[in-house]
């Protein structure tokens, strides 16, 4: 199934602190997978913590949220391994509740320092 863009994150310099991208609009009820794509536009490659994140979904139109996956991202270059785009962060996780017509997704982040990113939330 082809990727569907749920939300575009325009290129921006994001300051340290908490930032939430989304929520998306209600997503297609057949979608089962949620992708976060972030491009490292201006990073120092210092090797330290850059972002902590939670990839969240809602089954009730955005009233309540749960994390499908979470983790951290360090400020290091990403190689082009197996043809992946270099310096592109791809996070893939599952959206439960296939058939539910009230699902939304969002990306909740805490930036440890100021970084310039662009990206999107995608689904398939």
């Amino acid at each position: 199934m082809a990727l569907t863009t749920l939300l575009t994150i325009p290129q921006a310099t994001v300051s340290a602190g908490g930032h939430t991208f989304g929520p998306s609009a209600v997503i297609n009820s057949a979608i089962s997978q949620f992708l976060i794509v972030l491009n490292q536009i201006s990073w120092s490659n210092a090797g330290d913590l850059a972002i902590t994140y939670s990839a969240d979904y809602s089954l009730d139109g955005g009233t309540t949220w749960a994390a499908s996956a979470s983790g951290n991202i360090f400020d290091v270059p990403i190689p082009s391994k197996r043809g992946n785009v270099a310096d592109q962060i791809v996070i893939a996780c599952t959206i439960p509740g296939i058939g539910n017509a009230n699902r939304k997704v969002r990306l909740v982040t805490t930036f440890a320092k100021t970084l310039t990113v662009s990206g999107s939330l995608e689904a398939q």
Binding site: S32, Q33, L35, L38, G47, A55, A66, A67, S68, A69, S70, G71, N72, I73, F74, V76, I78, P79, K81, R82, G83, N84, Q88, I89, V90, I91, A92, C93, T94, Q124
Partner: protein
């Protein structure tokens, strides 16, 4: 009662990290056989898996696919508490191409440590069951032989379940994020003979490496070990 395979949870990211988590829901007494991976640049690390409640024990050794450039490690939780947990794969320093996969099953022993075999093959070809974990010997039966295979090359078109195995799906989030192909399979064993998890690739080529694991866990209750059979054999010899 025969065991049942009840699901897979997974998450993956290309960016370097010291932890990645996935939300996993268990029923009381579930078994969780988990696999995790990370980029091998810089060598092997000391890995842990945690969720704040359950205990995950590393099974076997870390498998380093030096051609594909990924390390793989298996963890077992023998007796999961009921509930939804944030299962975290943790590293002492950040690594890219990090991922977690959690399979869970009902009806397996809540006290027995899994028996495991693992293998890395370079260019195994497309022959039926050409991908093999190598043999493991179950200590008892009946039980579950779980197979997990990951093709570390974007040019491999597919990896399918081996002969006699049930296809339980793939680590889809790994495959999407990393451009890999994976397969999870299982088979109910009723013999203690040596056995391997096998898979079949859909294409062949150069620098195509496949990592595969076979993991055996006996069913809960009624497990029959090899010992009574040996005792019977020697009692017959003594009587003769």
């Amino acid at each position: 009662m025969a065991y049942s395979f009840t699901g897979i949870f997974s998450a993956a990211q290309t960016a370097a990290a010291t932890a990645i988590t996935v939300s996993a829901t268990y029923s009381a007494g579930d078994q969780a056989i988990c696999i995790a991976t990370y980029d091998d640049t810089g060598g092997l690390l000391s890995e842990t898996m945690t969720d704040g409640t359950n205990t995950y024990t590393k099974i076997g050794t870390t498998e380093d696919d030096t051609v594909g450039g990924q390390c793989y490690v298996i963890f077992q939780c023998k007796n999961c508490a009921a509930g939804t947990f944030t299962v975290s794969f943790n590293l002492p320093s950040s690594r890219g191409f990090i991922a977690i996969g959690v399979t869970h099953e009902a009806g397996l022993s809540t006290t027995t440590t899994a028996v495991q075999a693992q293998n890395v093959q370079n260019n195994p070809g497309t022959g039926t069951d050409a991908v093999t974990s190598t043999n493991l010997t179950p200590g008892s039966q009946p039980g579950m032989l779980l197979g997990i295979g990951s093709a570390d090359s974007s040019s491999i078109t597919s990896i399918t379940a081996g002969t006699g195995f049930t296809n339980e799906g793939a680590l889809t989030n790994w495959d999407t994020a990393f451009s890999t192909k994976s397969r999870v399979e299982d088979k109910r064993l009723t013999s203690i003979s040596a056995v391997a998890s096998t898979f079949t690739l859909g294409s062949s080529g150069t620098n195509q490496t496949v990592v595969s694991f076979g993991i055996f866990v006996p069913e809960s209750g009624g497990a029959a070990s090899a010992v009574p059979e040996l005792e019977y054999y020697y009692s017959r010899r003594r009587a003769a």
